[in-house]
């Protein structure tokens, strides 16, 4: 049976209904059996209809008076008994209905039914997000802008209420349920054809792995984005065939490594996520001794990055929770702490990284360090996106926000697959190559190039895709031509070409594009508009291809229109 809610109602209403029927029937039967007197004084017996009519309005306390004739005393005796009998029965029934409306179990079942129908009605591609927090909130917001719908499941009822208050547009169906259960995933629509991915980013690695495995078993085709912070767990996940495993600590470690050894690769990576295409002076990391405060997962990941980069470092082991318990404060920097910092060599260190789990401690570590060594470069780990302003005003040179990084990568994986590929490929290049690319980008487009992806199908590139289907050969150079004058080129650069057979980083102009291939394009605002015109409009495409206006009608010169 589909709806448990209907069954709950039926079950709960059985006794009240029985009580009402019994009390009614007793009263009615009694009334028909007791002799009365009509207005002429003749004896009469109430018919069943009379009795039913009278009891109906008596029991519901409407009370129109005695009908059809004034009652005799024996009748009144019986009626006074019936009043209490039926009214009690009636109130019991109503009381039960009211209790039923407030019933938690029923409300929950109704909620599930509503959620299920909402998920079924989703016609666009959607992803399932397990757990609602700052990271997933940002992912949901950005995916909504891309037209990708999301469904949220969280164990916590309050989080779900938060989503409802958030008023996402389009609506995000959400329900509170145990995310580790297969029924929950089925309810969230994991079997639906338009379900594209499941996002599992819980703190607990084991829980993540368990859910990922379950998703894989429920739907083999689905993409699973799962967070894993340890090597063993990652390996285990890889073995069960999960391709996209996110380790925020590994990402940070890589970033630090590239920042030190290949700043231009780092620049390209952060540019993809919205940084401008230029390294500010204060963004160059110093080379020298590093101090890492906090030796947790984050601290160790950073140390790994430094080690790969060949940088000397020391740890100061600060555990935020223990520190707070011991000192009864979240402010770092008493005499003892200063001594620790001095012992670690703060005076001659080039950089200090505060990587504990507590934002307040991180901030105070860095301000203490700055007092001891005003020239030191400061890096902070920020744990939650919410108090961004404090970090901004604290004049810290660099802030790592784990949540933001996780959100960025997840979003890219779902909505921007080519960008994701691009990042992977540039990691294999060296700094000189990256510097060259940055130079080329800023020379052709400027400091703030737009980045977008396009797939050459009729949906996104109507004219171009159809022309390619017809067998017309078009290379990338043609796509760069200006709509105003085909001999000139727009400010446009193709960063990545990808089709079923090959992936080419910085494809050459002579490359002939194939139907269904996808492109990662960097350009400026105007070039984007031109480019979109050219690939979608037959006349524009014809012009940039042949340098002449397409004419239709009796001349039929437009080769593209056949």
């Amino acid at each position: 049976m589909e709806t448990n809610s209907a069954w709950i109602i039926i079950h709960r209403m059985r006794t009240p209904l029985l009580v009402i029927i019994l009390t009614f029937s007793i009263s009615i039967l009694g009334l028909t059996l007791i002799p009365g007197q009509d207005d002429q004084g003749n004896p009469y017996y109430m018919t069943f209809f009379d009795a039913f009519y009278f009891v109906s309005y008596m029991a519901t306390t409407i009370g129109f008076g005695e009908a059809p004739y004034t009652f005799t005393y024996p009748q009144r005796l019986w009626v006074s008994f019936c009043i209490y009998l039926t009214v009690i029965g009636w109130f019991y029934g109503i009381g039960n209905i009211v209790a039923l409306i407030q019933d938690k179990k029923l409300a929950r079942e109704l909620g599930i039914a509503r959620f299920r129908s909402k998920v079924r009605k989703l016609s666009e591609p959607f992803i399932i997000v397990l757990g609602y927090n700052n990271v997933t909130k940002e992912i949901i917001q950005r995916l909504s802008l891309e037209g990708i719908r999301t469904v949220v499941v969280d164990k916590d009822e309050e989080k779900i209420e938060e989503i409802e208050l958030e008023n996402f547009i389009p609506e995000v169906p959400a329900i509170s349920a145990d995310t580790t259960k297969p029924q929950t995933l089925k309810l969230a629509g994991i079997h639906q054809k338009n379900c594209q991915a499941v996002v599992v980013l819980f703190e607990d690695d084991i829980k993540n792995a368990k859910i990922a495995l379950m998703c894989k078993l429920l739907n083999k085709k689905i993409n699973i984005i799962v967070k894993s912070t340890t090597k063993e767990n990652t390996e285990h996940l890889r073995n069960i065939g999960i391709r996209h495993i996110e380790n925020p600590f590994k990402i940070i470690s890589d970033r630090l490594y590239f920042e030190i050894t290949a700043p231009y690769i780092w620049l390209l990576e952060v540019w993809v996520f919205g940084h401008i295409l230029k390294i500010r002076k204060k963004e160059f990391l110093p080379k020298g001794k590093y101090i890492i405060c906090g030796a947790g997962r984050m601290g160790r990941a950073l140390a790994e990055g430094l080690e790969r980069a060949g940088i000397e470092y020391v740890f100061i082991d600060i555990k935020s929770s223990e520190y707070k318990k011991m000192k009864q404060s979240a402010i770092y920097g008493d005499a003892e702490d200063i001594k620790t910092l001095l012992n670690a060599g703060i005076k001659e260190a080039a950089c200090i990284i505060a990587a504990t789990k507590d934002d307040m401690i991180n901030l105070t570590i860095l301000s203490t360090a700055k007092k001891l060594n005003p020239n030191i470069y400061t890096i902070a780990r920020e744990n939650s996106v919410e108090d961004l302003s404090i970090f901004k005003s604290a004049r810290i040179d660099k802030v790592y926000i784990l949540e933001k990084i996780l959100a960025d990568y997840t979003y890219n994986f779902i909505a921007k697959p080519l960008t994701n590929r691009f990042i992977k490929l540039i990691h294999k290049k060296d700094n000189r190559w990256a510097m060259g690319l940055v130079g080329k980008l800023s020379a052709t487009i400027g400091k703030n190039p737009l980045l977008f992806e396009i797939t050459l199908t009729p949906k996104e590139a109507y004219a171009l895709a159809n022309a390619l289907k017809e067998g017309i050969e078009i290379n990338l150079e043609v796509l760069r031509r200006s709509r105003a004058n085909y001999k000139q080129h727009n400010k446009i650069l193709f960063l990545l070409y990808h089709d079923e057979e090959e992936t080419i980083l910085l494809p050459p102009d002579s490359l002939k594009v194939k139907y269904g291939a996808s492109l990662l394009v960097a350009c400026d605002e105007e070039a984007k508009e031109d480019f979109e015109y050219v690939i979608n409009n037959y006349y524009e495409l014809h012009y940039v291809l042949y340098g002449e206006e397409a004419t239709v009608g009796i001349w039929k010169k437009c080769k593209l229109l056949g």
């Binding site: 069954w7 059985r14 029985l18 019994l22 029937s25 009615i28 209809f49």
Partner: protein, 126 residues
């Protein structure tokens, strides 16, 4: 012995027997049919219906359906009777036959219901 089975069995069969009691006799003459028996049949049938509510099995659904049929037919019979007496100013032959034949229809539904109930009981191993 299961007390719930006794109670539900009692009402299912009582629903059929009271129904039969009303139905039995010359269909053209209401003197052979007691209105009290019709009343009893309606009440017992309603109770039987409620007892059948909430059973999620296939058999439970069919049992409930038969009961609902019986209810509708019996209440229909009572309505025709009341309408004939108060609306048309007396029972004519057509109304009388309609009342009795409707209760006959209800009786059929009740018989099916009891047969299903007995069949289920026979199949049960407990």
């Amino acid at each position: 012995m299961n007390i719930q089975k006794v109670i539900s069995g009692f009402f299912f069969i009582l629903a059929m027997t009271t129904n039969f009691g009303f139905f039995y006799g010359d269909p053209a003459n209401l003197d052979y049919h007691s209105k009290y028996e019709l009343f009893a049949a309606i009440i017992v049938n309603l109770i039987a219906t409620i007892l059948k509510l909430g059973d999620k099995t296939q058999l439970g659904s069919v049992l409930l359906a038969t009961s609902l049929v019986a209810d509708i037919q019996l209440i229909g019979a009572a309505t025709v009777w009341a309408f004939a007496v108060y609306g048309l100013g007396g029972l004519n032959l057509e109304a009388t036959v309609a009342v009795i034949s409707m209760s006959g229809g209800a009786l059929l539904a009740n018989i099916v219901s009891v047969l299903l109930f007995i069949g289920d009981t026979l199949k049960s191993k407990r």
